[in-house]
Symmetry: C2
Subunit: 369 residues, 2 copies
């Protein structure tokens, strides 16, 4: 069989599928694209067994053929070419022959029987969300997913459908982030846990194009225009996160995020590599931040403008976690809601955006002194 | 003692010295800056025992003091600050205290006795070269320095003073680059070998500022304005490189560098990881380039426009070396001068720039077939 494609449009197509190709895998077949040409439609897909990406395009071909082609090699060739017409020819048994005006490239390809089946998700229930809204929800929560496999549920992002809106929740036990998109309300109360890899690939693929989401008990499918991402779900129960969120933290510290973050970044230079601790000493309209590196005999203290009329509190945090949180809130005026030096602290933007809710919870650490 | 400095001007000074601070070293003292304050002049220096960097600035201080301060910590603090006045205070024994409007930072510092002496190079013979000219000579030759310690001379760049000009030579046995700056002629015939680390640090520091070079038997000193880089020299004899350069390669292939390089980059995708070989089949006004990856059953062939009326030659090269060379010639029309498939090939720009000479030599590899 033979067909022609434009190099730049093929490059664009492959660039959307290649994120699903694993970099290292014990199964060499996964290092390939599956090309499935059927009735003039060419579907290219790739999978790492956790996620799969799939996209179709029309090709002028009368014959049908499935082939498994080394993904990196094909992608690297195609994107190294100037814009040109490429003739694909797969008549000769085990080699795919690409021909351009100046060159001929032969690539060994494999039969497609061993390529894993990509699961289909039934399309009976459809959720539509704007791509940028989904990207925002992901980008504001994904950093707090747990990196430890001990509790698999916490290594993913919880999507929770509810009457209040679509909730995105992540936690690693030290901090918790909840983002609510109030535009997407639902009568059914359902939880789905999306694995980290799907979240990270999704974040890079999303733009202003609307996304259609389909869910089954075991899988989720995201359609970004024509591009489909299928992911398995984490089949565990998500921790009852609401029980750790304090209902009333009466002491409210109002502070500018940018100046606090700039201080915290300096404190990271001083906080001991063992304790990684920063101390906030909060008094009436007074915020003093300090850190000490006992091993290297260095310490630092800074004062920052704030508004506060609660009781005086000295509280310690992991410096890197405070930095993470300040980096992922995009409002400039924020509130720390505190109860005491041993209870969870809530961080929120001073003004919530319309139809959005963002809440970050951070557990304190015991102060050294 | 106490003195004040502007944070941004100190950041600029430290940024020029920090490249000499080793990232990993068995001697912790080298991870520091030496601050030497004497008669109102503050000299900051750092060394990894191979190279040293040194720069002075005026400070309003009546007292003299030498101190050894953790380099990364100080540099990271200073550059994380907004522009501000910093008060340095070193009265209190083992701690240096930095004070700004909002913060106080205490840094442990060490006595200076253990900090290694930085060699001085006598200033009796001075060579002046424009910074950009020196940068060009370095950038066009440095890639071909040997990475193997077996022959230490070849791990550096040769500076050779001669009546024809100042020559820069590098070789790793497989390829050789010679760049001549004909503006700097000298009656003395002298060779100095600059180590790789000095070359790589120099390249990043150079700009249009004139550079003064001083040389002794064991060391070289480069003054870029006020900033001094001192390096030890490699105390070995450089190989007699002239004897490997063929005097007459009568077959001349004229080719466009950009299109050849684009082809070679594609051939890198196909050349076997074992042989890393690309084949040039050269005939009358014909250049065919091919590569084969036997392990993966793939191969490629391209034809490129050229001018050639020598005898037909099939010649093989290491694909990565051809790519290196094509990346480091900046003229767009180049000549391959060939004798036969087993003799060294010379690559030159078709038109030499005024007062410059660039010659690259590449050894062929035996063709598989």
């Amino acid at each position: 069989m033979e067909f022609k494609v434009n190099s730049k449009s093929l490059e664009k197509l492959l660039s959307k599928i290649i994120p699903a190709v694993p970099v290292r895998t014990p199964m060499p077949i996964l290092e390939n694209f599956l090309f499935d040409i059927k009735d003039g439609l060419m579907t290219v897909s790739a999978t790492d067994l956790e996620i799969a990406l799939r996209l179709s395009t029309n090709v002028p071909s009368d014959e049908n053929l499935k082939m498994v082609i080394p993904a990196r090699l094909l992608y690297d060739i195609i994107r190294s070419l100037q814009e040109t017409q490429i003739t694909f020819n797969a008549n000769g048994g085990s080699k795919l022959k690409l021909t351009t005006d100046n060159g001929i490239y032969n690539i060994g390809y494999t039969a497609s029987e061993d390529f894993p089946e990509i699961p289909s998700v039934p399309k009976d229930k459809e959720i539509v969300i704007n791509g940028l809204d989904l990207k925002k929800a992901i980008d504001q929560t994904s950093f707090a997913m747990s990196k430890e496999d001990m509790r698999p549920a916490m290594t993913g992002t919880l999507l929770e459908f509810s009457q209040e809106g679509l909730k995105f929740v992540t936690t690693d036990g030290h901090r918790l982030v909840k983002f609510v998109n109030k535009n997407i309300k639902s009568d059914r109360n359902e939880q789905y846990i999306i694995p980290e890899r799907a979240i990270s690939v999704l974040s890079k693929l999303l733009d202003e194009v609307d996304v259609k989401i389909y869910l089954s008990k075991s899988h989720a499918s995201f359609f970004i225009g024509e591009l489909e991402l299928v992911t398995r779900l984490i089949g565990e129960k998500y921790p009852a996160y609401n029980s750790v969120i304090p209902l009333e933290n009466e002491n409210k510290l109002f502070v500018n995020r940018t100046s606090l973050n700039s201080t915290i970044k300096r404190m990271m230079l001083f906080s001991s590599s063992s304790s990684k601790q920063v101390k906030l000493s909060i008094g009436h309209n007074k915020l003093q931040i300090s850190a000490e590196d006992i091993d290297h005999g260095s310490d630092a203290v800074e004062n920052i403008d704030c508004r506060y009329d609660g009781e005086s509190i000295d509280i310690g945090f992991n410096t890197a976690y405070v930095n993470d949180i300040l980096t992922h809130v995009d409002e400039d005026e924020i509130i720390f809601k505190l109860h005491s030096s041993t209870k969870a602290c809530i961080i929120e933007p001073e003004k919530a955006r319309e139809n959005e809710e963002l809440m970050l919870l951070l557990m304190p650490v015991r102060l050294n002194s």
